[in-house]
C-alpha cells in the first residue's frame, strides 16, 4: 500500500519545555490509527504540528509525496483536520460555513447534495440556517466534522471527535471513518473513549509526556 502520511522527527519545544519530542511515524492508504494519552500529554500538539496550525520546532510532514515545507498548498488540499474546539463566524450560518469551505477548496460540484446528505446524517439539516453559536457543544462538533468531510482529502486528523457526541453520533462517526478507510483515506484520531482506544483502528499510538510510541 502507498504511504499517505509521513511524519519525520516532528517536535515542538516552548523554550526548555518539550511539548512533543522528535516523533516519526507513517500511515498507509486506508490505515486508521488512534492516539491516546493523558490530558496534556501532547496529543493535540502532535495533531496541530502535523497540520501546521502551530509551527513545529523541527521535522517534516509529507502527504502523498508532497512535503508540507515545499508544497504547503498541495498538502492542505489533501489534509482535513477537526479540532477539539472549533470557532465559528458570528455572522455566517451553518450552511454558509459549509459553502465557504467548499468554495475555498474548489469543491462546489455536487455541493448541495453532499452537504444535504452530511447534514442529514449528523442531524443538522433542520438547523442548517441557524448561526452555529446557537448550537449546543455536540452540534458544534458535528458541524466541525461536516466542515472537514465536505471537501476532498486523503488524510483525516481528528482531535477528540467523540468528546461531546451522543452514542448514536459516535457510532455514526465511526461508520464514516470505516467508510473513508475503504476509499483509501488515512485517519489519525485522538480519543479518550475506551472503545475507540482499545478496539478501533489498525494501529494504536500512546503519547506520554510528549513522547509517542506504538502499542
Amino acid at each position: 500500500m502507498e504511504e499517505r502520511l509521513l511524519v519525520q522527527d516532528l517536535s515542538k519545544r516552548y523554550g526548555q519545555f518539550v511539548a512533543l519530542a522528535p516523533t516519526s511515524f507513517s500511515l498507509k492508504a486506508g490505515e486508521i490509527a488512534t492516539l491516546s494519552g493523558q490530558n496534556g500529554s501532547g496529543k493535540t500538539t502532535l495533531l496541530t504540528c502535523i497540520t501546521k496550525l502551530i509551527k513545529p520546532s523541527s521535522g517534516k510532514v509529507v502527504v502523498d509525496s508532497f512535503d508540507m515545507a515545499v508544497d504547503e498548498l498541495e498538502v492542505r488540499r489533501r489534509m482535513a483536520f477537526v479540532p477539539d474546539v472549533q470557532r465559528f463566524y458570528t455572522t455566517l450560518t451553518a450552511w454558509e460555513h459549509l459553502r465557504y469551505v467548499a468554495m475555498a477548496n474548489n469543491a462546489l460540484d455536487g455541493f448541495d447534495q453532499r452537504a444535504e446528505m452530511l447534514l442529514k446524517e449528523f442531524g443538522l439539516w433542520e438547523t442548517r440556517d441557524h448561526f452555529p453559536h446557537n448550537y449546543s457543544r455536540g452540534m458544534q462538533l458535528k458541524l466541525s466534522l461536516t466542515l472537514a468531510l465536505i471537501r476532498p482529502f486523503t488524510v483525516l486528523l481528528l482531535d477528540e471527535p467523540t468528546s461531546a457526541l451522543d452514542e448514536e453520533s459516535v457510532s455514526l462517526l465511526l461508520d464514516k471513518v470505516l467508510a473513508l478507510r475503504d476509499q483509501g483515506v488515512s485517519v489519525l484520531m485522538s480519543s479518550h473513549n475506551p472503545i475507540i482506544k482499545q478496539q478501533f483502528g489498525d494501529r494504536q499510538f500512546l503519547v506520554e509526556e510528549g513522547v509517542l510510541r506504538e502499542v
Binding site: T48, T51, K52, L53, I54, K55, L73, R76, R77, M79, A80, F81, P83, Q86, R87, F88, Y89, T90, T91, L92, T93, W95, E96, R99, Y100, V101, M103, A104, N105, N106, L108, D129, H130, F131, H133, N134, L147
Partner: protein, 536 residues
C-alpha cells in the same frame, strides 16, 4: 447581608482599581512610594480638573451671555433643568424596560443563588450606578457655577478674582445638584424595580406613568418659569420648587435650608425604593441584564471585539436564510464571505468611517497646501488601517478554519482586503469628485494615487497585524489590533505619493504619485504575505 456587602465592596474596589490603573496607581500597593504617588495624583488632577473646568467655564460664560443676555441666572437654571428632565425620562424608560439593578454573569451564578433579602440587595446595588451617574452632573453643575462666576467677574470689570470664592461657586452648584440627582435617580429605580416585580403588567404601569407626569411637570414648570414663559396659576404654584434649590447653589442664597428640604425628599425616595424592592427577583434581573453587563465589562477591559460579537449575535437572532450563493471558487470565497459578513454587521460606526473617507477625499482635492494634506492623510490613515483590516483580524481569530484553506497567503490577503479596499476607493473617489466640483480643482493627481495609497495602507496594516500575531492567542480567538507604529508607517507610506504629486507640477506629478503609490503598495502587500507565512 455581610457576604453581600463583601462581594459588592470587592466589585466597587475593582471598579475603582480599573479607573486608577489608567493613571498607573495600584491601590493594593502599600509602599511609601505609592502613597507619595497618590498625593501627587490628587494634587495634579485637582489642579488639572480645575483648569479644564475653568477653561470650559470661559466658553460657557460667553455662550450663556449670548443665549440669555437679559437673564443669565434663570436661563442657566432652566438649561440645567431641561438636561435633568431629558436624563430622567431616559432613565425612567430604560428602568421600565429592563431591571435597573444590573447583574453580571458572575453575579448571576453567585449572588442570585443566595437567599438574600431583596431590599438590602437593591439598596446596596444602587450605590455604584448612582455614583457613576452623578459625576457628569456634578461636573456640569461646577462648570455652570464657574461660568456664572466668570459672568459676575466680567460685570465687575475684570478685577482680580478671589480664587477661593471662585472655587466655592463651583462647589456650591455641585452640592445643590447632588440631592436633586439622587431624588430623580432613586425615583427611576424605585419605579423600575416596582414595575419589574409586578411582571410589567399594564395595570401596574399607572404608577410609573403618574411618576413621570408629576416629576416631569415639576421639572418642566421650573424650566419654563426660568425661561420666563407665562404659566397657568396651578403650574406657577409648583414652578419654583426645583429652581429654588439650584438658585441657592448658584448664588449666595440659603443653601443650607435648600439642602435640608431636598435631603428630606431624598429620604422619602430612598424609603420608596426600599418599599418597592420587597418582591424584587434577582434571578429575573440577572436574566434581563447579564448580557448587557457582560458586554460593558468586555468593552472596558479591552475585549471590544468579543463585546461586539455578542451584540451582533443578539441582533442577528437564531436563523438567517442565505439569499445569495454564488459559484465563486478559490480565494474569491473570502470575498463572498466578507460581503456577507459586512452586510450583516453594518452599524453606525461603519457609516462614520465612510463619512471620514468621503471628507478626506474631498479635502485632498480641495486643500492646496501640502501641510494641510498631510494632516488629512494622518486622519485618513488612522481610520483606514482599522477599516481595512476588520475582516482580516476576524479571520485570524478563526485560525483553525483559516489555516486549513488551500489558499496562497497573498491571494487570501488580497481577497480579504478587496471589499473594504474597494469601498474605501469608491467613497474616497466620490469625495474627491465633490471636492473637484466645489474647488474647481483637477481630480487627476489625487485620483490616480488613491488605489496605490489604499494598497500600501492595507499592506502595512496587514503586515503589522501578522507581525504581532501569536498562534496560541489566535487559537483562543484573539488577534492583535494595529498599533500606533503601524498607523504611523501607513500614514508615511500614504503621504509619500501625496507629497510627490503636490511638489511635482502637472501631469508628471500625477504619474509620479501613481507610480510611487503602486510601488509602495506592491512592496507592503508582499511583505504582509511573507509575514503571514511566519506567524509563530
Amino acid at each position: 447581608m455581610r457576604a453581600l456587602h463583601w462581594i459588592r465592596s470587592r466589585q466597587e474596589m475593582e471598579e475603582l482599581s480599573y479607573w486608577l490603573s489608567l493613571v498607573s496607581y495600584n491601590p493594593k500597593d502599600r509602599s511609601l512610594d505609592n502613597r507619595i504617588y497618590l498625593v501627587y495624583l490628587l494634587v495634579f488632577f485637582s489642579v488639572w480638573w480645575f483648569m479644564v473646568l475653568v477653561w470650559f467655564a470661559g466658553t460657557g460664560a460667553s455662550l450663556l451671555a449670548l443665549v440669555f443676555p437679559s437673564a443669565i441666572l434663570p436661563g442657566t437654571i432652566g438649561l440645567e433643568l431641561i438636561i435633568i428632565l431629558i436624563w430622567f425620562l431616559t432613565l425612567m424608560v430604560l428602568s421600565l424596560l429592563r431591571s435597573p439593578v444590573a447583574f453580571s454573569e458572575e453575579d448571576a451564578y453567585l449572588v442570585c443563588q443566595m437567599p438574600l433579602k431583596p431590599r438590602g440587595l437593591v439598596l446596596r446595588w444602587s450605590l455604584m450606578p448612582w455614583v457613576r451617574s452623578v459625576i457628569p452632573f456634578l461636573i456640569l453643575a461646577m462648570v455652570l457655577g464657574f461660568s456664572l462666576a466668570e459672568v459676575d467677574l466680567a460685570r465687575q470689570g475684570g478685577t482680580d478674582p478671589d480664587i477661593f470664592a471662585y472655587i466655592v461657586r463651583g462647589l456650591r452648584a455641585a452640592l445643590a445638584m447632588l440631592p436633586l440627582h439622587l431624588a430623580a435617580f432613586g425615583l427611576a429605580w424605585a419605579n423600575g424595580v416596582w414595575f419589574m416585580s409586578r411582571q410589567r403588567r399594564k395595570a401596574a404601569g399607572i404608577v410609573p406613568v403618574v411618576t413621570i407626569g408629576v416629576v416631569g411637570l415639576l421639572i418642566l414648570s421650573g424650566a419654563l418659569a426660568s425661561f420666563g414663559a407665562g404659566l397657568p396659576s396651578w403650574m406657577a404654584a409648583i414652578s419654583d420648587v426645583l429652581p429654588a434649590v439650584l438658585r441657592a447653589g448658584f448664588t449666595e442664597g440659603a443653601l443650607g435650608s435648600a439642602l435640608r428640604i431636598a435631603g428630606l425628599a431624598d429620604l422619602v425616595v430612598i424609603l420608596l425604593l426600599y418599599l418597592s424592592a420587597g418582591r424584587f427577583s434577582p434571578s429575573q434581573a440577572a436574566q434581563e441584564t447579564q448580557s448587557q453587563e457582560t458586554n460593558r465589562n468586555l468593552r472596558r477591559y479591552g475585549f471590544t471585539n468579543r463585546g461586539q460579537d455578542r451584540k451582533t449575535q443578539k441582533r442577528l437572532g437564531v436563523v438567517r436564510r442565505s439569499a445569495w450563493l454564488p459559484r465563486w471558487q478559490g480565494s474569491a470565497a473570502a470575498i463572498w464571505k466578507d460581503l456577507l459578513q459586512s452586510w450583516r454587521s453594518v452599524n453606525l460606526s461603519y457609516f462614520y468611517h465612510l463619512l471620514i473617507f468621503f471628507s478626506v477625499g474631498l479635502g485632498l482635492v480641495f486643500i492646496p497646501s501640502l501641510g494641510g494634506r498631510i494632516f488629512l492623510i494622518l486622519t485618513w490613515a488612522l481610520q483606514a488601517t482599522r477599516f481595512l483590516t476588520q475582516r482580516l483580524k476576524e479571520d485570524l481569530t478563526h485560525w483553525a478554519l483559516l489555516r486549513q484553506l488551500p489558499l496562497k497567503p497573498l491571494d487570501f490577503i488580497l481577497a480579504d482586503l478587496a471589499f473594504p479596499g474597494g469601498l474605501l476607493l469608491l467613497v474616497s473617489l466620490l469625495g474627491m469628485a465633490a471636492g473637484s466640483l466645489l474647488g474647481n480643482q483637477p481630480l487627476l493627481s489625487a485620483g490616480l494615487s488613491l488605489p496605490g495609497m489604499i494598497a500600501s495602507t492595507a499592506g502595512v496594516s496587514a503586515f503589522m497585524i501578522f507581525r504581532y500575531s501569536r498562534i496560541d492567542l489566535l487559537l483562543s480567538g484573539q488577534a492583535p489590533s494595529i498599533n500606533e507604529l503601524g498607523v504611523f508607517i501607513a500614514a508615511v507610506c500614504a503621504v509619500i505619493p501625496v507629497a510627490v504629486y503636490s511638489l511635482l507640477p502637472g501631469f508628471a506629478g500625477a504619474i509620479g504619485g501613481m507610480v510611487v503609490s503602486i510601488l509602495i503598495g506592491f512592496i507592503a502587500l508582499n511583505a504582509a504575505g511573507n509575514a503571514f507565512r511566519h506567524i509563530d
